[in-house]
Amino acid sequence: MTTASAKPLAEQLGRDLTLYDAADQLFGTRIGETLNELLIKGLMDFFDEGQSVWRMPGRQQGLFRAWANIARRNRRLRMRGLDVAAILDRADEPEAMIDLVMTRLGVPEQHWMRYVTVELSRLHGWAGFVRWRAQAVHYYWQQRNPADLTDYLAVRLVLALALLEDAGRRLRRDLRWPALLDFAAAHPRECLLRRELNAGTVLPDFAHRIEVALDAGEPAGLDALYLDYEREKITREARTRARRVETMAAAAGMGRDALLGRDDETLHQVIDGVYAAKAHEGMLWTRSLERAHLRWLLAQIDAAAAADAPGAAPAGPMAGGMPQGPGDAVQALFCIDVRSERLRRHLEAVGDYETFGIAGFFGIPIAFVEFGKGHETALCPAVVTPKHVAVEMPHSHAKHAESLFELAHEVVHDLKNTVLAPYVTVEAVGLLFGFDMVGKTFAPRAYNTWRQRLETRKPPARLLFDKLSEADALELVANLQDEMVLRAVERHFAVKREQLTSPMIRELRETALENRKGQTELARRFGLDAAGEAVFIRSLQVEYRVNPDQARIQLEHLAKIGFRPQRQAQLVGAALRGIGLTGGFGRTVLVVGHGSTSENNPYESALDCGACGGDHGLVNARIFAAMANRPEVRKLLKEQGVDIPAATRFIPALHDTTTDEIRLADLDELPPALLRRIDRICEDLTAAGRLTAAERCQALGETGISGPDAAARRVKRHALDWTQVRPEWGLSKNASFVIGRRELTQRVNLDGRAFLHSYDYRVDPKGRLLETILTGPLIVAQWINLEHFFSVVDNEAFGSGSKVYHNVVGRFGVVTGNLSDLRTGLPAQTMLRGHAPYHQPMRLITVIEAPLALVEALLAKLYKPRELVHNGWIRLVVLDPETGRAQVYDPEHREGGAWRPQPIRLPAWAERHNMQAPS
């Protein structure tokens, strides 16, 4: 409930309070709560995405109409005294309903927009979801059951009007806007006393007196009481403040006498100053936190560069004493995710690995259709819309035989959803569930291994991302249509394939596609009359979708599949140049995407790769590696100035951030000569993974870890344990984003707190690659950082509270308890350790290693990064290699120049082989 403050009602109405909030505060009704309850029930029914077994009917008409149809007949609403049907009968369209309700409530039109903002902010989770759905035109459920903010607002206003009218009838008062304002104007003091009483901020010892006075309703008494009350409240607050000032002074070493010895003027100013500072206290703390971290980071970079000075032992692949040839190091491309930082550090320590950071989708935005799923998933950051489709095709087209186990599993789980079954089946079937539960709880690893053996594996599949030629596409569509024709003939006439010839099938297809007319061979052979034949052709067109429109749509979809070789080369080239890897390729380049594993975790996707739209990055890695391995792509890349030797092989891999295991993929496509090398790489990766797990176990507060082995086992258990509320910390404690060479941060232990994007400004004179980074990965990282910031400062309002009370609703979100606002943000278990915050809330400290002039030019050109930097949503630091200075941008103290320089040492610039700028 909103708390009353000393601001008058007239000011707050429509700005901070809705009409029913005001009524609740004045008259102690509970309209706001009831409204939210009724609305949430309706929303949960409408937005269900397959979780409930009894579905709401008529949802395809849109949110408002579907809800109205049900609400008109809802007897429970009528029993509460709400005459919703009468209101709904007055208008059909949501806009008309909004207009009707707002005029009936008497809200003046110039206040409508602000009033609507307040209304929408009440359940900002649900409203945010509706808002997203309204613009997600390709979302399957939105296409089936459309909803937008206007519908949502109309439903909300209808309920508000019904509740207000009902409350007005019961209290025998007019609760409309002009009436409430008049009441506030005529009885301001009574108004204030009422608000104090009902908003829960009243001084307890006055509560009874105020109640009695309000019941009596005598104005003089109320006035006197109000004056008493105000005086008392202000005095108490003043006394509290005085006490606190004394405490503060005492803590500063100033005793009471010393304090009171000053003159009034000084003390007056001090008191004002203290209370002015309190308003800014949060910002002061945040800036201090940022200062500390920034100083530490720059000092570390500086120290690392000093250690790297000529004469000192060189780091990186040249370490270890023996001079290595250019082809012996293994390069590995990781996502910029903070969790990759630990692994990269350990991997570099374990062997000769050169790691790079790149956005997790590897610069290839695709919409992916997984085998067996009927829809596209966008594997790219949310700010990007993919224009190409990639499809997964299994190696063999064998029919997917249902295993007995899977069938039984499905039946047993379906039984849970019927109403009467539990009464009957719990004795018989309950034991099976119990077995499952016991196994999963007490021995998750062993039980999981055993279960894996029973479940059928997905057939090995290959990714299709090359453009289909038109001939291929037409053939594909024709094959599909033939298949449809066959099925239709079999079903309608019980004629099997053996009795038909290919020309007959073709003829039927062409007739359905309206490419030919006349009697078909089928009709002649089987003695169909013209009418029967027409019916069959019609059925082919409508039921089996063998018609020209559908064919065109199918061709369009097929045209979106894949990339042309030029486009492939362009994407791979841009990605490699963007990270500064344009030469000196080793014989193996690992392309490592990341994902996570957890059980019983609605936030599973939050732990996956944000750059891949909340999915794991293996698909993008496989496509990137496959593209980069293609000879024709390499030929085109050579023209761009990126020379990949023929011996170099790109291998995709997946880093599971919960267990720190790295699994190489597409090994069946490798030439056998490489397999030995792969073994060694796998060993190195396992070792690095174990070291990372050991480090992470410390952060997770695990005890009894004797070494990396034990740590690896422990984190594996976390991934499989359905009772684990914190399988990993995820991106918590993220603090900075470093855009520059790996040499900058190679010797620095960033403790898994930094996003690292490789970048070499020398191959980017015009700043185009930096532009891509600033408008893509930087925005993603900023979103991640601020999501964590606000989820930790107020976990109940911006975050989603404790996972323990979450219930999944409609398969798309969680609510707390069984009826609450849709929870947004991250849960308490990810942000807090017990009650203390684990993530440190500060803005993303973005470090860019590039000349200041370049960065300033880009900021002047790009709108969004400029807005973020100038308004202080990220803290920007530019390490200028040409002047050897670190320029820190201070958004809160811009007068006199926002850039504050300080000297810094940067690592020496190694010569990259084949250092040509692109033409």
Partner: protein
């Protein structure tokens, strides 16, 4: 004695008893007394200790008067006693309903007291000896009474909704408060529960609808009211502008000790029942 004269003499006894084992509208007096605020300094009648004494002694007086009345009426007073039993049952239900919307602590206890002791009449109609149940019901209210007094001393008034979230700020107090409320609403194993069980099943008319209906309904409404009281005081978000002072060790021992004694008394009641 007996006969018509006996019954007529018994009537004023019963009515006087109705002041102490409250029957509406005679209950108004008791409730006024229990809710009396101190009008001047040194107003002894309004002290919590005094009121606690009243809470305990009134039932005893009432039971004595009741016994006297029954002796006067002897066997012919059956219809009289049944009439009063009905009156008692209705009073109990009335006050139980009113209890649901009571927010002030003292009003709450007063109404619960009325509702509880009116049930004694219902038992009396079936020859249940009223002393122990009456005592059990009245004593069950004492722990809550003292804790409510504690709230009044800290915040100026004992009332739901004004200072929620006690469980977070005053955990010891909140724990004792929860137990006290449960004891007061005659949750199983409190003396009040055994008292009600006694009234319901202890007499010859056990299981009669007229006995069980008011008892169970009243009991149900009490638990609902108890939860309302808890929800408004113990649970919720604590206010940031108030000072919360928890109980110190001695006070905890005092309250806990009192509740222990009550538990023992409950055992005595059970003994008597069995």
């Amino acid at each position: 004695m007996g006969g018509l004269l006996g019954s007529m003499l018994a009537l004023p006894c019963f009515v006087l008893a109705g002041l102490c084992l409250p029957l509406f509208p005679l209950s108004v007096g008791v409730n006024r007394l229990l809710q009396r605020q101190p009008t001047r300094a040194g107003d002894r009648l309004a002290q919590p200790g005094t009121k606690a004494l009243v809470l305990v002694t009134l039932p005893l007086v009432g039971v004595t008067l009741l016994a006297a009345g029954r002796w006067l009426a002897a066997d012919d007073g059956g219809w009289l006693v049944r009439g009063f039993a009905l009156w008692g049952g209705l009073t109990s239900l009335l006050y139980a309903f009113r209890l649901l919307s009571a927010r002030d602590g003292q009003i709450w206890i007063g109404q619960l007291y009325t509702s509880a002791l009116a049930l004694v009449w219902v038992g009396v109609a079936h020859d249940v000896p009223p002393l122990l149940p009456a005592l059990g019901l009245a004593l069950s209210l004492l722990p809550l009474w003292f804790l409510l007094d504690g709230l009044t001393r800290r915040f100026g008034i004992a009332r739901t909704g004004l200072y929620p979230g006690l469980a977070l700020r005053m955990p010891r107090f909140a724990a004792l408060f929860i137990v006290a409320v449960l004891v007061a609403v005659a949750v199983p194993f409190s003396p009040g529960f055994f008292a009600i069980a006694d009234l319901a099943f202890g007499g010859v008319g056990a299981n009669a609808l007229l006995t069980l209906l008011p008892l169970s309904l009243a009991w149900l409404l009490w638990t609902w009211a108890g939860i309302n009281l808890l929800a408004g005081i113990v649970f919720g978000e604590p206010r940031v502008d108030l000072d919360y002072a928890d109980l110190d060790g001695r006070a905890v021992l005092g309250h806990a000790g009192g509740m222990m004694c009550l538990a023992l008394f409950g055992l005595v009641l059970v003994e008597r029942m069995l």
